[in-house]
Symmetry: D2
Subunit: 118 residues, 4 copies
C-alpha cells in the first residue's frame, strides 16, 4: 500500500468509530509521543548489544513491531490532518541534510551540523 | 517511493557518513523520541483551534513538515535495523484494533479497549 | 524531606536491588522520558477543560500522582548520578528567564524568547 | 527552598507574565515531555561510557543542568495546577515498589514487576 492508502485506511477506521473529533493535530502529536515513549521503555535498560538482539527473540520482536506500528499510525494520522506529504517532506529533509552534513566534514561524527568543521 | 526505497536512501546516507555505528536500535529509539518531542513543542501552548490552524501559515507548515520528516526518518531507520516491516506491522495492528475496538462499543469514545463496555 | 534525602532514599533502593548497574545517565534519560510519555497518555484525548478536571476524580488523580512520582524519581536519579543540583539549576534557569522574558515583552504571550519583541 | 516554595516562585513568574492561561494540565504535560526530549537529545548517540562522562565537561554539564531544570520546572508546575504533592506521591510510590520489587526477586534484574519470579 502507498502512504496515502495507509492513511485512508486509518481515517476510515477513525470515522467508523466517530473518533475524528479527538484527532486534532495537538492530540495526535501527544499520542505520537506517547507511543514513542513505549518504544523507549523496551530499550531503556538494555546495553547496546542487548538492544541489537531485542528482535531476535519473538517476544521482543512482537513488542517492538506493535509499538512501531502505533508510532507509524499516529505519524500518518498527524500528517493526514495537517496536509503534510510525508514522503515529500522526507525527500526535502534528506536534500537539506546533504548540504548540512557534507561527507568530508560529517564522516564518523555524530555532532549537530552547527558544530561541524569547528 | 516505497518504504523500502526510503529506507535504502537513508541507509546509504548513513553509510556514506560512517554513521551506522551510532544507529543501534536503542539510539534510534532515543532519536525518534527526541524528534517527537520537537513536534510536541510546536503544539504545547496552542488551543485545539490554533493547533488546527498551525499548518495554514507557511512558517508553521514548514516547521511541522521538517519535524515530521525527522520522526519518519528515525522510525524508518529503527524498523530497518531491527528487521520490522512497518507496513505489515501496521496492517496487523489495524486488524487487532478492529477486534479490540468494535464500532458498537467504541463509537464516539476515546477509552482504551480494556475499559470499553464497562 | 529535602531533594538530597529523596535522592538518598532512591539510591539506597537501587543499591539494595543491585540496579545501579542499569542507571547510566543515558538509561535514566530514557526512563525519564518513558514516564513523561505515560503522563501524556493520560491527557492526549482530553479537551483543555477535561484536562483541568482530571484530578477531581479519584482515579484520574491517582493515575497522575503515580506517573508524576515516576517522572520525579527518574529526574532525581539522573541529577544524582550526573552531579546536578536541581534546586540550584532551577534557580539559575529562573534568573536567566527573567532576562529572556521581560514582563513588558512577554506579557500574555507564549512565544519563545528569540521571537519576542518582533 | 522547599518544593512548595519552588512552585510559588514559578507560579509568580507565570502570573507576572500573564501566562497562567497557557498552563492547563494538558499543556504542561506536553511541555514537560518536550523538555525530556531535549534531555534525550544530549544522550542519543553516546555510548554508556560517554554518557557517564557527559557532565565532566563544562559544556555538557551546563546543557544537562539547563534541560534538567526545564523538566523540573514543568513537573513542579504540573503538580501545582493539579494539586499533587510530589514528595508524598514519591514516598507512596517507593513504598509500593518495595512490595512490587522485593530484594530477593528483583536483585540485579531490570524486569518489570509483572515479570519477576517467573
Amino acid at each position: 500500500m502507498t502512504i496515502r492508502e495507509l492513511q485512508d485506511t486509518l481515517a476510515h477506521f477513525a470515522r467508523e468509530r466517530d473518533r475524528v473529533q479527538f484527532h486534532t493535530p495537538k492530540n495526535l502529536a501527544m499520542a505520537l509521543t506517547g507511543e514513542t515513549g513505549e518504544v523507549l521503555e523496551l530499550f531503556r535498560w538494555l546495553t547496546p548489544e542487548q538492544s541489537n538482539a531485542l528482535t531476535s527473540q519473538p517476544e521482543g520482536a512482537r513488542a517492538l513491531r506493535h509499538e512501531s506500528a502505533d508510532v507509524f499510525a499516529y505519524l500518518l494520522g498527524l500528517a493526514d490532518v495537517t496536509g503534510i506529504d510525508l514522503e515529500e517532506a522526507l525527500a526535502e529533509r534528506i536534500e537539506l541534510n546533504r548540504h548540512r552534513y557534507p561527507v568530508v566534514l560529517a564522516y564518523g561524527c555524530a555532532e549537530k551540523y552547527t558544530n561541524l568543521g569547528e
